[in-house]
């Protein structure tokens, strides 16, 4: 277990460095600078600003300085919001995006797993067929279509819930965004769990358990549940990537001040440090989620570790 963690940590360093470097190069090769769109500055003022953000140095020196800062956990000052550092902006935006993502994942598991069980128990019966069709629908309808339709239904025509906004994370402001974000993951988890359960229930040890007279509920929860969770757990890695990118759209639709909005805004405004900071945090989150998924997998199936 510890060895895996160390491996992952060592793996994370080159990946993060690569992400940082690619983004840095993209930002610097791109036409247009952070202060181009503003009204024409006098030469002295422009030089002053450039000096403040160290834009007057050679690019390699800037890169080195930035790398040094990041290693100390400082993502630098924001270009677009002069009074705030990128650390402060992310410290404000990340909890919002994280709340959204974690809740959506929980909702997806809480609804997807039972639906998968139901579908597997009623395999090839109308219930299963109906759940299957709904799942394909859930996977296929993009969240930027379903989200606005939900707003139209539950906030405009039938005003139960607010149209958008964060409002300190009140529960009624969270319902629609979380459901919209969770829907495709509910569908994926249902399909994965149904397939895995069906495969597991055909194995000889289940027949033995039946022959011993175990109740169906006992077989399902005590015997088949854990091994059938394996595909769902390995889906959690890619799912986290989907959640992070999905939340960019969700934040746009529901007007939530999360990290995704900073990213799109920052990119449009050439806010070098903000964009770099967000991309780094996202890459770090992705690595962390994948590691957590791997650890869970090994905990559920200790054989997975021995094979290597």
């Amino acid at each position: 277990m510890m060895r895996l963690l160390w491996q992952r940590l060592l793996w994370a360093i080159p990946v993060l460095w690569l992400v940082l470097t690619i983004t840095f190069v993209l930002l610097r090769v791109a036409p247009g600078g952070p202060f181009d769109s503003e009204r024409q500055l006098t030469t002295e003022a422009a030089a002053q600003i450039a000096a403040k953000y160290q834009l007057d140095q050679p690019v390699l020196v800037q890169y080195g300085q930035y790398l040094g800062q990041v290693l100390q956990g400082d993502l630098g000052p924001s270009f677009q919001y002069p009074d705030q550092t990128v650390n402060e902006l992310i410290a404000y935006g990340l909890p919002i995006s994280a709340t959204l993502g974690v809740l959506a994942l929980l909702v997806a598991l809480m609804i997807g797993l039972p639906l998968g069980v139901l579908s597997a128990k009623r395999a090839d019966k109308p219930t299963d067929f109906f759940i299957g069709i709904t799942a394909v629908l859930g996977i296929s309808v993009p969240n930027f279509v379903i989200g606005p339709l939900l707003i139209l239904a539950f906030a405009v025509y039938w005003p139960l819930l607010p149209v958008g906004g964060w409002n300190g994370g009140q529960i009624n402001h969270l319902v629609l965004p979380v459901i919209t974000l969770a829907l495709p993951f509910i569908a994926y988890i249902t399909r994965l769990f149904r397939g895995a359960l069906l495969e597991e229930l055909q194995k000889p040890y289940i027949t033995t358990a039946r022959a011993k007279g175990c109740s169906e509920a006992r077989i399902l929860w005590l015997h088949a549940f854990k091994p059938a969770m394996l595909p769902v757990v390995s889906f959690l890695g890619p799912a986290s990537v989907g959640l992070i990118t999905g939340s960019v759209v969700i934040e746009q639709i529901f007007g939530l001040p999360g990290m995704g909005r900073y990213f799109v805004q920052g990119a449009l405004n050439r806010d070098y440090t903000l964009v770099l900071g967000v991309v780094l945090v996202v890459a770090l989150l992705m690595l962390m989620m994948n590691t957590v998924a791997d650890l869970l997998y090994r905990w559920l199936d200790p054989r997975a570790g021995e094979q290597q």
Partner: protein
């Protein structure tokens, strides 16, 4: 059943998208000052948007573009993915390990974010969009193809060909590539909806397809902005988009069950 349903929608939709715009007398860019945000009627079959442009023609033209992006990017992804997977799997050994490690690194990058940056910084050219999406989506194809190649190269007829001293190129193109057909078709079918989704996702954020062109993602995005005044401008393009994605997903699922790649499992 699933396959038939999916195929019939895809055929109808493709024909509609290709021929449909000529059936209407409306122009995609013409602004009807007297008919802004008009609900669907006999003159404007899908209504008009808030700028008074006919949505029927725009939806179909948007479909053309979405499908075009999907086809081009999928072809690119197949080209890169299949050759990468083929080489990695067939050559094996250190080359294989190195190539797979490289894939792992690419997998770890927050790609969609980099694609967004690329599009923001270098202008929203169509070609850049193709390259950005095609360059990202081939990873899965490469992995699958490698896995299958590993199995295939152990088959007796490949070993026979090797023993006869046939060149690597000849073995790859004559003995291995044809046997990958099933897997490649399934994964291509499953790649297309992903590409359409990514394209519309990027266009939704306002970074993809630009005026005067339009795509389903752009249309949905405009529809969201005018949700209350013209809800049809959201749900009509949204329905086209969703139905098409669903049809490709169903088709891919159906074909996968039909060919069942589980027959060939790596090792």
């Amino acid at each position: 059943m699933k396959i038939k349903l999916a195929l019939s929608w895809l055929i109808i939709m493709s024909l509609w998208v290709i021929i449909g715009p000529w059936l209407s007398s409306q122009q995609p860019d013409f602004i009807h000052w007297d008919a802004m945000a008009q609900a669907p009627d006999s003159q404007f079959w899908f209504g008009t948007d808030v700028m008074g442009r006919d949505l029927y023609v725009r939806t179909l033209l948007g479909g053309r573009l979405s499908l075009l992006v999907a086809l081009v990017a999928t072809c690119m992804s197949l080209l890169i993915g299949v050759s990468y997977g083929l080489l990695s799997g067939y050559l094996g050994g250190r080359t294989d390990r190195f190539m797979m490690r490289f894939l792992d690194v690419l997998y770890a990058l927050p790609f969609l974010f980099l694609v967004i940056l690329l599009l923001v910084f270098f202008g929203q050219h169509m070609i850049l969009l193709f390259i950005a999406i095609g360059g990202y989506i081939w990873l899965d194809t490469a992995r699958i193809v490698r896995g299958q190649t590993l199995v295939l190269k152990k088959q007796a007829y490949v070993e026979a060909a090797q023993a006869m001293g046939q060149s690597t190129t000849r073995i790859l193109s004559l003995h291995i590539l044809p046997n990958l057909r099933g897997v490649v078709i399934v994964y291509a079918t499953l790649t297309i909806p992903q590409v359409i989704l990514i394209e519309s996702f990027i266009s939704f954020l306002g970074l993809g397809v630009q005026e005067p062109n339009t795509s389903w993602g752009t249309l949905v995005s405009e529809g969201v902005d005018n949700l209350q005044t013209a809800p049809w401008s959201l749900w009509i393009p949204g329905a086209f988009l969703s139905l098409t994605l669903m049809a490709f997903n169903l088709l891919g699922d159906g074909l996968r069950d039909y060919w069942d790649p589980k027959r060939l499992r790596p090792r």
